[in-house]
Symmetry: C2
Subunit: 186 residues, 2 copies
DNA sequence: CGTATTCGGCTAATAGTATTAGCCTTTGAG
DNA sequence: CTCAAAGGCTAATACTATTAGCCGAATACG
């Protein structure tokens, strides 16, 4: 191997920094090259193209989120696990709003594994509710939709009124819990 | 006035067609110009720039969604109104997935009015639940997050498993209903 | 050691998009 | 009929992405 310098991971690191500081639209090869102190075409030695960089960045974010989510669920169960998962999810998004928005939701082969991991964690958080088979899938979808919708809207600044967002989120959590209880009892 | 030909509205129409057919990333001034049979710079006579076109397109979509939502809520109340609102919302997003994804959630002055209208409609759909003041705001936020999250994920094809999406959405609706009942009783 | 290979940078060139400036024709108002 | 302005056009500039091909340095190895 030649010089250490850049690497695909290092390029993704710089990409994440740009996303954090200037938003997902600012993630551009020339911006990354600028930060790396390198000419733009040099990046192609590490990354296939801009589209792939976006996917790699997105995959990294999904991985971080999965880490947070898994940490939250570990050692807890029932309502407590669910609350911890939801809080961890939201707080990650709030800590890194641009990063969160840079996550690609359309399925890609490159992030399929991490995506499955994330779904598995959500599923695990719901274990105590006694949902079997299909019911569990529906529940995961609803929970994911609720968390994702809230996180995105909050990250975008779409909730403009002064009311406390923590309280709004607490209500969302109560909705999910009561809905899951009802679903588990059928 | 000179020739009829183009107009800001016509430009937005073409933009919507492009969004529908090729996705929001394909919304480009040169693409619009191509469809309009006009040179790209000519569009600047009707629209300030690409950013403004995006906002105008987004505003149009929000307006359509508000139309659908208002239609759904009119003449209904309680669970029925809520179900109709949720179904209308999702079905709009399912009918026009790209369009739905092109909606800008970050608040812009140009779409503030339509956005407020939309929030007002959601609020109206919740009227029967007896939520007062802040509680109503929290409820609107949760409902919005749930609908938006589900719509976005479905539009992105993020729900990959075979389980029926209608059933998943029905569960989401039950979650919301039970959560609102609980919230209204406090 | 010395040398061949390859890694990882560079420059040059092409292509697509946004945007501005300034021209020119048609049209509608008077 | 005239003329001002609306609305189109071309030319030019500035990015950005991407490809091709060059070249030096580090590495592997005979």
């Amino acid at each position: 191997m030649a010089r250490a310098a850049l690497s695909p991971d290092a390029v993704v690191d710089l990409g994440l920094r740009i996303v954090d500081e200037e938003g997902p639209e600012a993630l551009t090869l020339s911006a990354v090259a600028g930060r790396a102190g390198v000419a733009t075409p040099s990046l192609y030695k590490h990354v296939r193209n801009l589209a792939e960089l976006r996917v790699l960045v997105s995959g990294r974010v999904m991985g971080e989120l999965a880490e947070v989510a898994s940490e939250a669920v570990l050692g807890r169960s029932g309502d407590e696990a669910l609350r911890a998962l939801m809080d961890g999810w939201r707080s990650y998004a709030a800590r890194h709003p641009h990063r969160y928005s840079a996550m690609i939701q359309s399925p890609r082969p490159e992030t399929a594994e991490t995506g499955d991991r994330l779904v598995g964690i959500i599923l695990a958080a719901l274990r105590a509710y006694g949902l079997e088979g299909q019911a569990a899938i529906h529940a995961v979808r609803c929970l994911r939709a609720a968390m994702h919708g809230f996180a995105l809207l909050e990250a975008a600044g779409a909730f403009q009124l002064a009311e406390d967002l923590d309280e709004s989120y607490a209500l969302l959590a109560r909705m999910v819990v009561s809905g899951l209880r009802a679903a588990g009892e059928r």
